[in-house]
Amino acid sequence: MSAPPPLRIRGLSVGYPSDHGAIQAVREVDLDVAAGEFLGIVGESGSGKTQLLLAILRLSAPHARLAGSIRYREQELLQLNVRALNQVRGNRISMVFQDPMTALNPYLRIGRQITEVLRVHRNVSGREAERRGIEMLESVHIPEGPRRMRQYPHELSGGMRQRVMIAMALIAEPEILLADEPSTALDVTVQAQILSLFQELRARTGTAIVLVTHDLGVIAEVADRVAVMYAGRIMEQAPIHELFAHPRHPYTEALQQSIPRIDAPRPTHLASIGGAPPNAAALPAGCAFAPRCIYRMPICESIDPPLIEAAPGHWKACHHQGPLGKLRSEAA
């Protein structure tokens, strides 16, 4: 905790007006991204994890209402004009999307797309950009760089395309890489390749990676630190081993227990969370998880618990004080 974290998010809210009242996609999120760290954000669909990521680069839909603060070094990203923002986007903070087929332009050659950032931000010559592009392809383990540079996205396999996306995102040597479900659309064996590529690149370049996923298993493989999101809020945030060994939020516990594992004895029954996630346009008063929570107390239905530091580096937003573990004993 010596150098200040390059990215500091405070009280970030993202809302969308709709016919059925305002949709609160992200609510009061505080989050730091430290230099070179691998941060995992885990949540189900509608938990606000992707909205949070998009808000960092101000890529939210035009009618979104953003409030709070996102500081990248000395700049307040929520205040920047488009020109200054473009100096950050793709250059200092870049992003990899879930579906590379829709994120890549089908009519442009790979080479042109990979080197675009360099040509826009760095004023690099064509030959130099080409050289860096091939180098970048090599570093994401795509062989035959010069040939690949001239190909179109549809000529590559799914895994290759995602590698191209990663090469694109890293070519300007950004300080932070945001990745939205980068391996979800891929087969298991290819997912493993991409995850190990992320780790390798982080170790080599020192780029901090923020990986958003619905899969706790993916987080467990790669992340240093985890934030668990539910209904737009961060419910728990802790170093990886701490979170898995001592979850302090009932939602985290439930998620962890409900996933079948290939390396543990086969249970006859999976622990499960009753009900379904709430509608973001009609959140319950108090804690959003309360209606599904087995530790629910009267206070949970009226007061939304703040995110507090329960142990050094371990934050949770829950009124429950004692130990968890009820789920495990119930399932047994």
């Binding site: 998620l255 409900s258 996933i259 079948p260 594992r261 290939i262 999976l270």
Partner: protein, 345 residues
């Protein structure tokens, strides 16, 4: 090994593909499915499923595992006669499903049902849930009176954890988990013997997946259903299945009991799949760190000669290029690999 004569004839060369075929509810032999696809200026033959054989016993859950393009959904659709088959036999109660047509096919349909991957897309957006659930009854049990049919629908709705208040709603008013419950109810309402579940969990959220997994397992036990459980997620296959069949590029790589497979698989591809499956535990996940399998599944239009897996196999030898490995019994597995003895600890 197999008592029924025609089956033995079909097993020529390869070992029997599972439990004793005499007890089997479904016996599939040498099933092949081809698609004609546009390629360059003409057509090409895409071998989606290539000589697949397996048995499914009564009350058993068999997992079909593989990556995209492995042919697992095609097998399901071929058995349900939703896509035409090129060759093979699928004996169900002694009748070949693949030869049926007209009224006999229609009569057989009630014993075979399908649960879909995308629950919302599988419900007609213009019909309410009561009508969707009543439809199979209308077709297969036309003698039921309206109140009788309604009662059956209501009973089934309750069995999957929904209530009568849901019957008048439309598909888009449901969450993914609820829609999948409806999908399950529709498949079960005419009391079929065999249910094919095509990735029934993969479109669902994490917290809903376990609810549906448990529901399927409970129903399977209570109703003694035979399930063909298609999935790419090894962990949920392990939770739900008794036996597992691993597919790659339309061919069977390995068939084994679930526990045996996860303890000591015999095929390098199975081993790679197990090693690639994420474990939701950082200690265990990081302890087993091994180099992931390289490359990706090739296009079935250009399947490699010999063993289809050899292009990605870390153990491939010269023989794998020349000779298609036949399914044979090694340890507790039926496995199609020339070097199966060397895999597995």
């Amino acid at each position: 090994m197999n008592s029924a004569l025609p089956i033995r004839a079909l097993d020529s060369g390869s070992a029997g593909a599972g439990a004793d075929a005499a007890d089997a509810l479904l016996t599939v032999r040498q099933l092949s499915v081809n698609y004609r696809v546009a390629y360059r200026r003409g057509h090409a033959l895409l071998r989606a499923v290539n000589a697949v054989s397996f048995d499914l016993a009564r009350g058993e859950t068999l997992g079909l595992v593989g990556e995209s393009g492995s042919g697992k959904s095609t097998i399901a659709r071929a058995l349900l006669r939703l896509v035409p088959t090129a060759s093979g036999v699928a004996l169900f109660h002694g009748t070949d499903l693949l030869q049926l047509s007209g009224a006999r096919l229609q009569a057989m349909r009630r014993h075979l049902q399908l649960i879909f991957q995308d629950p919302l897309a599988s419900l007609d957006p213009r019909m309410n849930i009561g009508d969707i659930l009543g439809e199979p009854l209308r077709v297969f049990e036309p003698r039921l009176s309206r109140p009788q049919r309604l009662q059956r629908v209501l009973d089934m709705t309750r069995a999957v954890g929904l209530g009568s208040e849901h019957l008048h709603r439309f598909a888009h008013e449901f969450s993914g988990g609820q829609a999948q419950r409806i999908g399950i109810a529709r498949a079960l309402i005419i009391e079929p013997e065999l249910i094919v579940c095509d990735e029934p969990l993969s479109a669902l959220d994490v917290s809903i997946k376990s609810q549906i997994s448990n529901l399927l397992k409970d129903l399977q036990r209570r109703l003694q259903l035979s399930l063909l459980f298609i999935s790419h997620d090894l962990a949920s296959v392990r939770f739900s299945c008794d036996r597992v069949l691993v597919l790659y590029l339309g061919r069977v790589m390995e068939i084994a009991g679930c526990d045996a497979l996860f303890k000591s698989c015999r095929h390098p591809y199975t081993r790679a799949l197990i090693r690639a499956a994420p474990i939701p535990d950082p200690v265990a996940a990081r302890a087993r760190r091994t180099a992931p399998l390289e490359g990706e599944i090739p296009s079935p239009l250009f399947a490699p000669s010999g063993c289809v897996f050899r292009t990605r196999c870390p153990m491939a030898i010269d023989r794998c290029t020349r000779e298609v490995p036949l399914l044979r019994l090694v340890g507790d597995s039926q496995v199609a690999c020339h070097r199966a003895e060397e895999v597995g600890e």
